[in-house]
Symmetry: C2
DNA sequence: AATTGTCCTTTGGTATGACCAAACTAGACA
DNA sequence: TGTCTAGTTTGGTCATACCAAAGGACAATT
């Protein structure tokens, strides 16, 4: 059609241009995109290619589309990226193996996280952990609330390295594994056990004992997995 | 919630059906999809919808499209997922902060990997590491070849947990960080330093000393980062 | 005046039909 | 037998039209 480069798909050019306008801020975050019929005039392209471009931008997480609404610009952050990856990742979680792999990788990461925490957690990190643990304790009778505070407690661990990638990974783990966990039965007794596991993890961190912290977390998550395994009547690994 | 039908977008239904046919194997891996005009008859939808569906499947990594060629079915694996995520991730790597965060997370992961390796590497893992190190040594004079063997050596570490997620992460790290790395100057002297770092990592693993292994790797990657930082004349962190 | 109901406009979703250029195929030709 | 060529697929693009839901303007109602 116009400027820029040669062959390939015309939609790709539109994608590139809109992409540039989004990252440069010319198209502000959280604001609606121009209407399709306006964009086709602006880029001198047919509506077909405009819609193709919008579709691609949407799947890249740069805009959010709702039926019959103008797309909303969404400047990419780590959470956005993770969410966009989720659409793809879900294909790997259709069988037990995929879930196990994902869960194992989570255990691996969290083991390293608690070790890191035991070695170099700051005072305010400890405070955050204590608060999260306390809320976790108070939620023992309410299983839904307990689940929330459970996730929150682990989330504090992911924030300790102060690298936004880790909280994003945490969000990925929780949202991608949630479908499995939701089907699990919960009980105050079960919550109590998990709370105590959280407590022993925090205790080890406070004592600056990375080995004990790692082991406590490992036991915690292994037991949790065992619980899922039995619940779903999966065979041995 | 949704079971296939009656949702807002017709393309989503087509996507879901094709998706099912791909994962079930009815549409075999590496084979071309039916032509668009055939699909529209098969699904009773317009070509608009079919093309929309194809576009979505493509961005999810389930098919591979080339201009003027039938889309090729590609059953999703971990590498595919990572590749699909790459299109999204690249937006986070436009500034130094994004690159640093990604690199730091890599350091974090690899520290845990070498620790794990030191504790529980099997004999054949050690053999693989030795082979990789040897090839790395022989490649010292050739910087391109050295880079390849360098990546390969680290890759062995990612395979030790025998969880396909880790090699996929490795591929992500190398491909996403490669653009930065490529712009760096290389030299046999620099290669020699890196080779010795690899050697000290392997030595520590062989000696079953997780602390030394972690420290050796940490020094290795920190030095590498320092080298990039200076090369690009970035300020302090 | 505030609220509610109705009409028109906007806008994304879908359907047709057409044309092009590159890739493929098969038959003609040397 | 090997090569060239013409016709056929097939994805990429364009133009136009219609629908249904969301938004907005304005009159009617309380």
């Amino acid at each position: 059609m116009d400027i820029g480069n040669e062959t390939g798909r015309a939609a790709d050019n539109v994608v590139a241009m809109l992409e540039a306008k989004i990252v440069s801020g010319e198209l502000e975050d959280q604001t609606p995109l121009p209407a399709e019929r306006e964009l086709m005039e602006q880029f001198g392209a047919s509506r077909t290619v405009i819609r193709e471009a919008i579709s691609q931008l949407s799947s890249r997480g740069l805009i959010e589309t709702r039926p019959r609404f103008r797309p909303i610009v969404r400047k990419p952050d780590y959470a956005t990226v993770l969410h966009a990856c989720g659409n793809v990742v879900q294909h790997l979680l259709t069988d037990k193996t995929g879930i196990k792999n994902l869960y194992d990788s989570r255990v691996f990461i969290e083991r390293a996280l608690v070790r890191e925490a035991a070695v170099s957690a700051r005072k305010d990190d400890i405070v955050s952990l204590r608060q999260a643990l306390e809320e976790n304790r108070k939620a023992i009778p309410d299983s839904n609330e307990f689940y929330r505070t459970d996730v929150a407690f682990h989330g504090v661990l992911y924030r300790i390295p102060r690298n936004p990638i880790f909280p994003a990974m945490h969000e990925g783990y929780t949202s991608w594994l949630a479908p499995q966990w939701d089907r699990m039965l919960r009980s105050p007794e079960r919550n109590e056990v998990n709370y105590l596991a959280h407590k022993s993890i925090l205790d080890a961190i406070v004592e600056r004992d990375p080995v004990a912290a790692e082991e406590a977390l490992n036991n915690h998550l292994k037991a949790a997995w065992e619980f899922v395994r039995v619940t779903f009547d999966w065979g041995d690994e």
